[in-house]
Amino acid sequence: MIRVQREDFDVAAETASIVGSDHGIGAVVTFIGLVRDISGGESISNMTLEHYPGMTEKMLERIESEAMSRWPLSASLIVHRYGHLEPGDGIVLVITASPHREAAFEASEFLVDWLKTKAPFWKRETTPAGAKWVAARDSDDAAAARWTGEI
């Protein structure tokens, strides 16, 4: 399941909903991305996350389907926010549930790596020197390249 939303997410409610009454699930891995108050050595007072409505949902659905096909997941969820965010706010939530932990961990890392490099979101951070668009990190491309094959 995927959702793109302006509102905050409730990790406990989302986890409960993903796990449901499926007692075949032995492992749940949750990744929460948060807004930091520092970035590249500069302090951040807030940020705006822009996205490409339509393409975003399409990419997230495809990435999630790919994860479900690569690993034996019982359920998964991606929630990505956009709009105005402040330090400490949640940006993205990824939950993967599986009978065993290996699949849940690997699928979670796969999804987060792909979100960082393929999902059409752009961060604009407000620093003491003004607002500026965040540059892509080479390390994110390297992380995504671990998962061979295009999706």
């Binding site: 490409y52 339509g54 940006i91 059409p120 752009w122």
Partner: protein
């Protein structure tokens, strides 16, 4: 054709989207970028370095040699920085 701009490509051009009439000799992403650069100095500046511009045609990532046609929605934007 509808052309969308995001992030600093949008800021530099000063438009989030525009509808353009494609000339007949524009049939690839690369030719579209050339033609858009001719629309004015802000377009030229924003799109001059294709190594930092990503392209989606009809909501799918596309390479410089991908075909484009009149009814397409083309989006131009920097490398993504979400998550």
């Amino acid at each position: 054709m509808k052309v969308l701009y995001f992030a600093w490509v949008r800021s530099q051009i000063g438009l989030s989207e525009e509808t353009v009439d494609l000339p007949d000799d524009v049939s690839t992403v690369s030719e579209l970028l050339d033609w858009l650069r001719g629309r004015g100095p802000r377009h030229a500046e924003a799109l001059h370095d294709t190594s930092v511009v990503r392209v989606a045609v009809n909501e799918e990532y596309a390479s410089l040699d991908a075909p484009v046609a009149a009814g397409d929605e083309v989006a131009l934007f920097p490398p993504v920085t979400g998550g």
